[in-house]
């Protein structure tokens, strides 16, 4: 690691120390920690939990918006010698195999939970469902993990359960899912549909906020572009040493754009694009040509025996395909199966949130027929798509993407007056990223 990277790393450690100090020993009951992708949110949760329990004998509760996140946190906390580590989830759930033999889970709320110093990990809906059995202040510290995925309305029932609350989350990613149109709610003094940290800051702007200043996942070229495009208020830098993330192929490529894109990654470009001629078919929910190219890219990575230098040869488990739409993702799965690559995971953006892997292959949401929708342009969705990879991300789409961006005209009535316009910020991010890729010669046309 270079001296400069070490400095960034130390700076990040100082921020982490300061945040935990403030949360555990300060006089303000709420602290917010904003984190870019791969900054070590869960590590912060681990450290805060460990210090709270061992130094202050606190009863800690780690709350997650969804159940899969709570399993991830519990898995990480098992690495610590804590006097008590408990997990509570809904009665109908079964522990994932990763945890099955390592932890006894409580199905629903049980009387003997939260006795003495230790950590309880659960999701917010379980607490809400059992609120009549809980008392305000029964926990000393509540850590809300992935807090930007938790709507304020869902935080409300559990907000008083602990004297101290730390919210940790990524402000650039997908907002909580609210199934109805919330534009009418924007006029209210209480924006209960906003993410919980955003709501708290709206009401109490003086709430202490810490920003984690580094990403340990993204390489510098991706990190710079992602920061500039999605995190104007959260400066961060990559502390990844490119020498630790080198990709090497045993078999050389041919002259196709696909191999050129892969070779570009091997040369150190962690974000590239491959374009397919023409436009996406109208009246189709999947673009078979783009799906085929995505499957071909995944296949070529493995046929050419891609190796994470110093780590391992990549397998199907190291590659993931991201598509905003379920049906289009199904078309990619079909093509992968036809190539005998069924173990390569294909998921929507929502499912990839919070995960990382060496190589991601992403369908560009503007690779579509007709005018892009708010869903296609949404900033958080694009940010998640482009920030899962540790080594390389290959964006795939029609060559018409450039025209779609150039000709897009934003309507001025997409959100209520004064509300944050995620569609507009998403469009600007799309434009910035595509132009940057074009300027840097990272778009490879088939």
């Amino acid at each position: 690691m270079t001296v400069q990277l070490q400095e960034h790393q130390q700076n990040a450690n100082h921020v982490l120390d300061a945040a935990i100090e403030r949360v555990l020993f300060g006089t303000v009951p709420l602290t917010i920690v904003k984190s870019p992708p791969g900054a070590g949110k869960t590590f912060l949760v681990e450290c805060a939990s460990a210090v709270a329990v061992t130094e202050s004998a606190m009863r800690v509760i780690v709350v997650t918006p969804g159940v899969s996140q709570l399993y991830d946190v519990a898995d990480r906390l098992l690495d610590y010698r804590l006097p008590r580590l408990e997990l509570a989830h809904a009665k109908h759930r079964t522990l994932p195999s990763l945890l099955a033999d390592r932890l006894t889970a409580s199905s629903g709320w049980a009387q003997g939970l939260n006795v003495g110093p230790g950590v309880l990990v659960t999701n917010v809906h379980l607490l809400t469902a059992n609120l009549d059995k809980l008392t305000p202040g029964m926990f000393d510290l509540m850590i809300v993990d992935e807090a930007y995925q938790l709507a304020a309305k869902d935080f409300m029932p559990v907000a008083g359960l602990a004297a101290r609350v730390m919210m940790v989350g990524d402000p650039g990613q997908l907002d909580p899912v609210i199934s109805i149109d919330t534009s009418n709610l924007e006029v209210n003094a209480h924006k209960i549909h906003w993410p919980a940290p955003a709501y708290a800051l709206d009401r109490f702007p003086d709430t202490p906020v810490f920003g984690l200043p580094v990403t340990r996942r993204l390489l510098p070229d991706t990190s710079d572009l992602i920061q500039a495009s999605f995190y104007p208020d959260l400066p961060f830098q990559s502390v990844v040493d490119p020498n630790d993330r080198r990709l090497r192929f045993a078999a050389s490529g041919m002259e196709s754009a696909v191999d050129q894109a892969l070779d570009a990654i091997a040369r150190g470009a962690s974000l590239v694009a491959v374009t397919v001629p023409g436009v996406a078919p109208a009246h189709e929910e999947a673009d078979p040509d783009v799906a085929a190219v995505m499957a071909y890219l995944a296949d070529r990575l493995l046929v050419r025996q891609a190796e994470w230098v110093g780590q391992r040869h990549l397998t199907e488990a190291d590659i993931g395909c991201i598509d905003p739409h379920v049906i289009a993702g199904g078309a990619i799965s079909d093509r992968l199966r036809q190539r005998g690559r069924s173990d390569i995971r294909v998921e929507t953006v929502e499912r990839w949130q919070g995960l990382q892997l060496p190589i991601s292959i992403v369908r560009h949401p503007l690779s579509r027929a007709g005018r892009p929708t708010a869903f296609d342009l949404e900033a958080g969705r694009w940010c998640v798509s482009l920030s899962r990879h540790q080594i390389g991300c290959i964006i795939v789409g029609r060559e018409s993407i450039a025209n779609v961006i150039r000709e897009y005209v934003h309507r001025c009535d997409t959100v209520a007056a004064g509300a944050r316009d995620a569609t507009w910020s998403g469009f600007r991010a799309h434009r910035k990223i595509w132009n940057a890729l074009a300027d840097q010669g990272r778009i490879f046309a088939l």
């Binding site: 709420l30 061992t54 690495d79 609120l131 409300m156 209960i192 003086d206 009246h283 199904g330």
Partner: protein
């Protein structure tokens, strides 16, 4: 419906010269005993109602025309106000069961504005204030997904049929009706002819029907006129407004008959009816109180989300056509039972494997599911790809153990996710009692400082970490 299917249906409708139903069941319950209709004409620039037709749906409506709709005197609204009050009383006597038919969303907007204008207007007659409250209650109820009170017949038709028109043209109710009238031989030509006159609760202002400009001019003249001349001018205004509001009413009645004429059964809507009825009963009895407090807003949002989920599930449960569309997107899984593990027939435990050809399935492990058309419920325990390209779904059965016809190998079934949509009123009652400071406080409280050892958190965590 996806864009391709939508376009295909439109081509078919154009070819067959009639509307094509896209659903096999209705999203609207049967009319309750208290069912009324309302049609309005508003001033385009002012959003003020200048004519209202209202009444029961099986007779001629009562009509109010307003000679001075922007004046302060609202006594001309009293007959409508009395009618709304009577309707509310009848609905209350029926525990809140009410249906208000309107031709399109413009009418709802007009009623909402009418409500905002008068529900707290202290200079208006009591009856008009009450009318304002009822209008606000109706407009508020209409915001709940799946609600069963306000029947916007344009929206209902668009949800249940497709015509040979472009989607945007279907916003014109009269044009749409041409595709639902067997007597119209060439609905395309007829509908485009009808589109020349607006069907959006306003006076037409076309070269052959310059009614809006004319009424505007007549009003100005009437203001200056007196005596017999004024009476003639007012009669002219009244006749024009009456003509066009009655046209809106006839559109409403015709469209309602066309919708009911589709003969779509109303099944699976009991929960939605119950929710709507309870909301109306409460609001009509106790008044309209817009949510302001954070816990009330959260309940409102939860009710809306639950309503949407209930409406979607009810539609899926009762409508094979919608299930087929949902199957395409992975929301419904159709398959064959390939294995049943039930040591004692008709008793738990029981688990089954369902083999589906679908590659796209939205189920996740631990999702609660139900078998369509039965009381069989279960929990998804695993999903695995089959070599043939389909998916095997393993389900732990949690209810309906005696359904031997379903829980047997080779039985074909459709599975959909169970709804979680419910509002935890008990939790929000506790919130209201405890009032957490983040939501109810004016500032963050100060808490006692803890005692820090001054050591780095990283160092402490490293010590606690297992080797």
């Amino acid at each position: 419906m996806n864009a391709f299917d939508d376009t295909l249906c439109r081509v078919m409708a154009r070819h067959m010269n009639r509307a094509i139903p896209t659903r096999i069941s209705s999203g609207l319950s049967s009319d309750p005993d208290v069912s009324i209709g309302i049609a309005t004409i508003k001033i385009v620039t002012e959003d003020q109602i200048q004519a209202i037709a209202f009444g029961s749906l099986d007779g001629e409506p009562e009509v109010i025309v307003r000679l001075d709709p922007i004046g302060r005197d609202v006594s001309d609204l009293v007959p409508f106000a009395n009618f709304m009050d009577q309707t509310a009383s009848h609905a209350l006597a029926a525990d809140g069961a009410l249906r208000v038919w309107i031709p399109h969303s413009v009418t709802l907007e007009a009623l909402d504005i009418l409500g905002h204008r008068y529900w707290q207007n202290q200079t208006a007659p009591d009856a008009v204030v009450r009318m304002g409250k009822i209008c606000r209650i109706l407009a508020h109820e209409a915001t709940f997904p799946g609600q069963q009170v306000v029947a916007d017949v344009s929206a209902l038709l668009q949800d249940h049929v497709v015509t040979g028109l472009a989607p945007i043209e279907e916003g014109h109710l009269d044009a749409m009706l041409a595709w639902l009238d067997p007597a119209v031989r060439d609905p395309l030509t007829e509908s485009r002819e009808r589109i020349r006159l607006p069907a959006s609760g306003i006076l037409p202002n076309t070269p052959d029907y310059p009614s809006d400009d004319r009424v505007d001019r007549l009003r100005k003249e009437a203001k200056r006129a007196t005596g017999h001349r004024r009476a003639i001018l007012e009669a002219d205004i009244e006749a024009t407004l009456r003509r066009w509001v009655l046209r809106e009413w006839r559109l409403l009645i015709g469209a309602r008959q066309a919708f009911l004429g589709l003969g779509l059964p109303s099944v699976g809507l009991d929960g939605l009816v119950k929710d709507s009825t309870a909301r109306m009963n409460n609001a009509l009895a106790n008044g309209h109180y817009p949510a302001r407090r954070p816990d009330k807003l959260a309940v409102l949002l939860a009710e809306m989300e639950a309503g949407l989920e209930k409406a979607e599930l009810a539609a899926l449960e009762s409508d094979p056509a919608l299930r087929e569309q949902a199957q395409h997107a992975g929301g419904v899984v159709r398959g064959v039972v390939s294995d049943v593990r039930q040591p004692r027939r008709n008793f738990k435990p029981c688990s089954i494997d369902v083999d589906s050809d679908q590659g796209v399935i939205r189920f996740r492990v631990d999702d609660k599911v139900r078998v369509v058309g039965s009381n069989v419920t279960g929990i998804v325990r695993s999903l695995s790809s089959m070599p043939t390209g389909g998916t095997k779904v393993s389900i732990e059965i949690t209810g309906g153990f005696r359904q031997a016809g379903i829980l047997s190998v080779d039985s074909q079934l459709e599975v959909l996710r169970e709804g979680y949509g419910f509002v935890n009123h008990r939790a929000f009652k506790l919130v209201s009692q405890h009032q957490p400071w983040v939501f109810f406080g004016e500032g963050a409280p100060t808490i006692a400082a803890g005692t820090s050892s001054g050591r780095s958190a990283l160092a402490i965590a490293t010590e606690v970490r297992r080797p």
